[in-house]
């Protein structure tokens, strides 16, 4: 199996030119292949992106639920479904995500991250790292996936910071039952950032004692409901790690 990549330097020079002039590269010339044999099947991703683009272009730009941010969540599951069975070697390779960023996702990246790109920062969103748009969509969907159900990925329309700071960049993102439970609670309670931050910190501290990979959704729902009730009543849990002031 072989998969296409773009090197970092190629990505940087192409992305800058695409931003500056709208240049359309010849990908046959720019891409490099890793591995040998049959190419990975990117057909399902192409179909998912075509569907996303068609839906995006017919959206109501004034509707909150039709913002680029909302689309990122709504279509994260489709992206994951299209890519999840590819070889792990490809999914691990930043060069593969750089290729997807510029070839399949560029139309969306340019809109979604327009303010940052306008300030000259394009590489953050196409370099295959954590903020790379297709990669973060994939990780968000993976974090909340239950079989083929990805609905929670798009359940919070204005929640980029929730996913970035409280799920994907912390251990919660590695335990799907916990991430689902947190997303469900946030969907229900719509905590503002001043509330969600201390709440997320409580969850993060519990990782000091508990291996959440061992938990199911019901366990997590019960725990988070209890933490939420405590936070709003000012009581301490008897099994939460204590803080000692000395």
């Amino acid at each position: 199996m072989r998969y296409p990549i773009l090197t970092r330097s190629t990505t940087e020079s192409l992305a800058r030119e695409m931003v500056a002039t709208g240049f359309a590269p010849n990908w046959e010339l720019e891409r490099t292949w890793v591995g040998s044999g049959q190419e990975v099947d990117l057909g399902p991703l192409g179909a998912a992106m075509a569907d996303m683009r068609e839906t995006f272009e017919s959206r109501d730009p004034k509707a909150v639920n039709d913002s680029p941010e909302a689309f990122e969540g709504r279509f994260a599951g489709d992206v994951h479904r299209a890519l999840r069975d590819l070889p792990i070697e490809a999914l691990d390779d930043p060069g593969f995500w750089r290729f997807l960023s510029l070839v399949d996702f560029w139309w969306f990246v340019a809109i979604r991250e327009a303010p940052a790109i306008g300030r000259g920062n394009v590489m953050t969103y196409v370099n295959g790292g954590k903020e790379c748009v297709p990669f973060r969509m994939f990780l968000r969907a993976q974090a909340i996936r239950r079989d083929d159900d990805y609905s929670l990925a798009g359940a919070l329309p204005k929640a980029a910071d929730f996913w970035r700071s409280h799920v994907l960049r912390v251990k919660t993102g590695t335990a799907p039952p916990l991430a689902r439970s947190f997303a469900r609670l946030q969907k229900e309670k719509l905590m503002v950032s001043d509330d969600v931050r201390p709440f997320a910190r409580r969850i993060n501290r519990l990782w000091s004692n508990i291996v959440f990979q061992e938990w199911e959704d019901d366990d997590c729902d019960k725990l988070l409901a209890g933490l939420y009730a405590e936070m709003h009543s000012g009581q301490d849990s008897h099994d939460e790690p204590r803080s000692l002031e000395s």
Binding site: P87, D93, T174, N209, E214, S243, E245, S246
Partner: protein, 328 residues
């Protein structure tokens, strides 16, 4: 008066479980890795060589006494082995068995047979191996006793990285276009930025620290890496990158003071944690944890003094003096 906030485990006893795991090692290609350690192997070794968790030094009789000390049934405690892919953010369970028959436990757990874990097929992001003794079900809650499913009684961690993974500070050749783009003068020789990167991110991108270095300077360095002045400049570049991380961390701590109240080990894997490990140690014992936390507080309260600690670790003073050569 100073104030310190620590997270502590809210129950007593059970040290036997940690003692047991402290004697576990990871065999990684031809290397043996102690608990809390990190090993870097080449790509071929990462993808093809056998890996195993070695438990032949483990005193299983401690399981019984440890369980008795906590008034637990050994059948309620699992030995659990997880392999995580820090870049791809998934965790696979490789081995799980309860301690009802501790004496029948294997003396090693193969990690690459019959099927290689997904993380060990993902060399860009590396793999984190975690071993726990943990409760396998909810028990009746009791004060000062573990009772929740998943509560760990002992833990150990090993980090495996390949040539392709890690978050080193790889210099980027700085061109005039880069200088224009970055908004810095044409004569700038070096520039470091994290862009929007978070130094507390537990899984930082491999290129989170962008270290731009003038092309002419890089060319001269390439042929003078072993000379005193070459060593001096390389260490200075490392310090430049470190300074950028410390500035970024300090900004985050100012914006979110709650971060400073956490234990730095909560951010294991982050750039901030790596810097505290550099000054203190990587040890998972309480002395290592406490030392890292002291350094984390130094970063928070006296960032320049923290940088001095880093500089001292680099051995830069000697290189600075040597770079004068025979000039008297």
């Amino acid at each position: 008066m100073s104030t310190e906030t620590r997270t502590v485990r809210p129950y007593v006893g059970g040290q036997e479980f940690q003692q047991m795991l402290d004697s576990c090692t990871l065999r990684c290609a031809d290397e043996i890795v102690e608990g809390g350690g990190e090993v870097s192997v080449n790509l071929d070794e990462y993808l093809n060589y056998p890996f195993a968790l070695l438990m032949d030094e483990l005193d299983w009789s401690l399981a019984e006494s440890g369980a008795a000390a906590l008034d637990l049934d050994p059948a309620d405690i699992d030995l659990l082995v997880l392999v995580a892919a820090p870049r791809l953010r998934f965790v696979d369970t490789i081995f799980r068995r309860d301690l009802a028959d501790a004496a029948g436990m294997p003396d090693h757990v193969p990690l690459s047979f019959p099927e290689r874990p997904r993380a060990l097929r993902a060399p860009h992001g590396g793999a984190d191996l975690r071993v726990y003794f943990c409760l396998n079900r909810d028990l009746d809650p009791r004060p000062l006793s573990p009772w929740r499913k998943g509560t760990w009684l002992g833990q150990q961690e090993y980090r495996v990285r390949s040539d392709l993974s890690g978050s080193g500070f790889v210099p980027i050749r700085m061109t005039d276009d880069d200088r224009d783009h970055l908004g810095i003068p044409q004569d700038t020789a070096r520039f470091v930025t994290l862009d929007d990167g978070d130094p507390f991110d537990v899984d930082p991108a491999t290129d989170i620290v962008k270290l731009y270095v003038d092309g002419d300077l890089l060319d001269r360095l390439a042929v003078a890496t072993g000379t005193p002045v070459g060593k001096h400049i390389q260490r200075q570049l490392f310090l430049d990158a470190t300074t950028a991380i410390v500035f970024a961390a300090h900004r985050r701590l100012t914006d979110d003071p709650g971060l400073g109240a956490q234990h730095v080990d909560d951010f294991r894997g982050s750039l901030v944690h790596k810097l505290t490990e550099l000054i203190a140690s990587k040890g998972l014992d309480s002395a290592g944890r406490d030392h890292r936390q002291i350094e984390f507080h130094r970063l928070r309260d006296e960032p320049t003094a923290f940088l001095a600690q880093i500089e001292a670790k680099t051995g830069m003073r000697k290189d600075m003096l040597d770079s004068f050569g025979d000039i008297t």
